[in-house]
């Protein structure tokens, strides 16, 4: 009653079924369902996914099998073994049990033998999982050769169980003789191929994320500091060019809330910077503060400027500043002929965040600079009246005694004011600064008469070096105001400068030694000068004060050497 069985045909048939099986696996590997399978995890939801997926494969293996001699030649073992290997003993057991019970429900004289053996196959996979983890060889779990070997052993064990459990024995022996070769081979290869599939999928994902990070990093690196200098047309065009080069999208645009600031790529002939925003997508992104994606299919994209524009899809991402307010957008386009890659979509959002932060940083920077500027101006406005009245009072006395000296004093006074009132934002040479200080000190010399001596030690070759205007005078004024003028005996101020390689050191020393770090108010001038220098050149520069009580106070100004450009 038994038909003759062609072993080769059986192997071929099973192999074909396995191919179907693997194609389904391949398709599934493209879905997020596979994500938990690609690494060893202990999270319960991941284990559950693992169980469901492999149970599915187990059952599918049964259905894809051949009816043969009242039994089923199948590829069920792949699901059970891999479920155990990847999910651990519990998952393996559960998968095996599910697959086994399902097989049992189909009946046949090997039903119970198959149910038991499938459960044990799941357990074998699970035990190996545990063993490899304990030996810290988790990397081997995904090794196709291990899957192959394990499945081979599991299948041989299944044959043994069939022989032991299925009755009548001779029937079982005959069956095993027929199916042992096809089933062990097919299942072992199938398991190895399945594992290979998972490995490949993982490699692709890694490559993808590496490419993504590399792109993101390169854009971040190239765009650093561009927008800090200001959110304007020239900077935005530069940036759009960088983004377009790095992402390879058809075109990149950056807008503020009203107009286009920069456009690079396909369609640059009619998307002109400076024109008002016309695209409804951009307007929606700005209005609703949301990412708008017009893929050209489900959401139509049509250039609102020119009919023959080659652009076919676009992604608009709002740029958000303080308190999440939209201050502009960045737009990525692809031409009609190209697909919008999801990589670029994600990247686009990252870039938008990066740019938002840069603009924010730029604003803070500008505000800080502005503050320092206005504080210096305030300082000038504050000091001068005090100084002025004392100077005028001195002048009144000198006019009476020595009109010629008074005329000279008027000259110094006008020099001092002219230099003080010059715009603060500008640089000055050390020579300018010394002249400013000198004019100031001449007036103080007249005022304090023999209570003040002034000495200079500034080498001529340093006089052309540049520094921020109004850096020296406030320090010298402090030396007089809080130093010399508070001395009961005569005092001395020494102004010296020296160069230490790339460092310009200016030292202002008074002989009072009365310096006290004041919490507020009085030290204002010095703090401002210090802040301005640090803001401009960095924290390595600025002002240092040292004091030997009742002997001296030394204020050292440290600046990077900036050679004056060729005289013009």
């Amino acid at each position: 009653m038994f038909e003759e069985i062609n072993h080769l045909a059986l192997i071929g048939g099973l192999m074909q079924q396995m191919c179907v099986y693997l194609v389904i696996a391949y398709l599934l590997s493209k879905t997020p369902l596979f994500a938990p399978l690609m690494q060893v995890t202990v999270r319960l939801p991941d284990k559950l996914v693992c169980y469901l997926v492999f149970s599915g494969f187990c059952i599918m293996g049964t259905y894809l099998g051949f009816q043969i001699e009242g039994a089923i030649a199948n590829t069920r073992a792949i699901g059970a073994v891999l479920g155990g290997l990847l999910g651990g003993p519990f998952v393996g057991l559960a998968v095996g049990l599910t697959g086994g019970l399902h097989r049992y429900s189909l009946g046949g004289f090997t039903a119970s033998a198959c149910a038991v053996s499938t459960t044990i196959e799941g357990l074998i996979g699970g035990c190996l999982h545990l063993y490899l983890l304990r030996r810290h060889r988790a990397d081997r779990l995904l090794n196709p050769m291990i899957a192959l070997g394990t499945t081979l052993c599991a299948e041989l064990m299944q044959m043994l169980i069939i022989l032991l459990m299925a009755r009548p024995f001779d029937h079982a022996a005959r069956l095993v003789a027929h199916i042992i070769l096809p089933m062990t081979l097919t299942n072992a290869f199938g398991a190895a191929l399945f594992m290979r599939l998972i490995l490949d999928r993982r490699a692709t994902l890694e490559k993808y994320s590496i490419a993504f990070s590399a792109k993101a990093l390169r854009i971040a690196e190239r765009s650093i500091g561009v927008l800090v200098q200001g959110f304007n047309e020239s900077n935005c065009s530069r940036l759009a060019k960088i983004i377009q080069e790095e992402t390879g999208v058809g075109a990149v645009a950056i807008t503020d809330c009203e107009k286009l600031l920069g456009f690079v790529g396909v369609g640059a002939d009619h998307h002109l910077p400076g024109t008002a925003i016309a695209s409804p997508h951009s307007l929606r992104a700005i209005q609703h503060n949301e990412v708008v994606y017009a893929d050209g299919a489900s959401v139509p994209y049509c250039c609102s400027l020119a009919r023959d524009c080659k652009l076919g899809s676009c992604l608009v991402i709002p740029l958000r500043g303080e308190e999440n307010q939209v201050f502009g957008t960045i737009k990525l386009y692809e031409p009609r002929t190209k697909f919008f890659s999801s990589l670029n979509r994600t990247l686009g959002e990252g870039i938008a965040r990066l740019l938002s932060n840069q603009v924010l940083a730029g604003k803070v920077e500008a505000q800080k600079r502005l503050l320092a500027q206005s504080e210096i101006k305030l300082l000038q406005a504050q000091i001068n009246p005090h100084f002025l009245f004392n100077a005028l009072n001195t002048l009144a006395a000198v006019i009476r005694r020595d009109p010629e000296a008074a005329r000279q004093l008027v000259q110094y006074l006008s020099t001092f004011f002219r230099k003080s009132l010059k715009r603060v934002g500008n640089d000055a040479t050390l020579k300018d600064e010394i002249e400013h200080v000198d004019a100031y000190l001449h007036i103080e010399l007249a005022r304090f008469a023999d209570r003040l001596k002034v000495e200079y030690a500034v080498p001529d070759d340093l006089l052309q070096l540049r520094l921020p205007a109004f850096s020296l005078q406030p320090i010298v004024e402090n030396a007089i105001k809080y130093g010399i003028s508070q001395m009961l005996e005569p005092g001395r101020v020494i102004i010296s400068a020296r160069r230490e390689e790339a460092l310009l050191c200016i030292l202002i020393e008074d002989s009072a030694g009365l310096y006290q770090p004041l919490p507020s108010g009085d030290g204002l001038g010095m703090n401002l000068v210090d802040r301005r220098i640090k803001l401009r050149y960095g924290d390595a520069y600025g002002i240092e004060v040292s004091c030997e009580p009742d002997c001296w106070t030394r204020v050292r100004i440290r600046l990077p050497v900036e050679e004056e450009l060729a005289a013009c």
Partner: protein, 238 residues
């Protein structure tokens, strides 16, 4: 005839004021000082009718100085300053008057009229006098000292004047014991002595009912019977 003393740390400033005052025949400038410490001595020595006092001066300002003047020697004060803010403060201190630098001769003439007429009430009590002194200006050996009150152990009078004895330095001050008692934490322990309670190491009781204080640096200061009880009360000794 009014006698006047000029106290200003800027020589040209004094020079100018002197020149302006020279035009008034009934004003005699009896002295000039370049700081508050010298000024205090000069006021006590010369007893001028009016003092033209600069406010911004080294270490001890004009405003602080007024509070150091012995009440009986307090002259009319005219503050002279380049700073309007200071001038306003001075005015609140009930100074006789204030002048802004550079001085307007007509404004000065008006001040002199007031001084001559005595129309402005002479000031005898400064609100500032309630403020505590942080340092005591003294003459040391050939130099001016500013002794911090914390540093002072005791003060006593002798023939040379009021001696301020600090831990390391000492000098003679123009400030009277009375003013020091009022304006510093020093307390009276004897008719001629003030002691800094912070510097008392021990008090030795004597048979005659008096006592002797040993200071932190081992100096001995007498305590009279009259002041002993008062002192015990102050120090919460029963």
């Amino acid at each position: 005839m009014l006698t006047a003393l000029l106290i200003d740390d800027e020589a040209p400033s004094r020079e100018e004021l002197k020149a302006l005052l020279a035009t008034a025949r009934d004003i005699e400038v009896v002295g000039e000082c370049a700081n508050a410490i010298e000024g205090l001595a000069a006021i006590h020595r010369l007893r001028p009718d009016v003092v033209f006092l600069d406010i911004q001066m080294p270490r001890v300002s004009g405003l602080e100085m007024v509070g150091m003047i012995e009440a009986s020697a307090l002259p009319q004060i005219v503050f002279v300053t380049a700073f309007e803010a200071h001038a306003l403060q001075a005015f609140e201190e009930h100074a006789a008057d204030y002048l802004l630098k550079p001085i307007d001769p007509q404004r000065l003439a008006r001040t002199l009229d007031w001084l001559r007429s005595g129309a402005r009430p002479a000031l005898r009590a400064f609100p500032l006098a309630t403020g505590m002194l942080r340092q005591i200006p003294c003459m040391g050996r050939n130099r001016i000292l500013l002794l911090a009150v914390d540093e002072v152990e005791f003060v006593h009078t002798d023939l040379a004047g009021v001696q301020v004895v600090g831990v390391q330095r000492q000098g003679v001050t123009e400030l009277s014991l009375k003013i020091l008692q009022e304006r510093t934490p020093l307390i009276r322990c004897h008719r001629q002595y003030l002691i800094n309670p912070e510097r008392i190491a021990e008090i030795e009781l004597l048979e005659n009912g008096g006592a002797e204080i040993v200071t932190g640096s081992g100096r001995r200061v007498p305590v009279s019977r009259r002041h002993l009880r008062e002192m015990k009360d102050r120090l919460l000794i029963t």
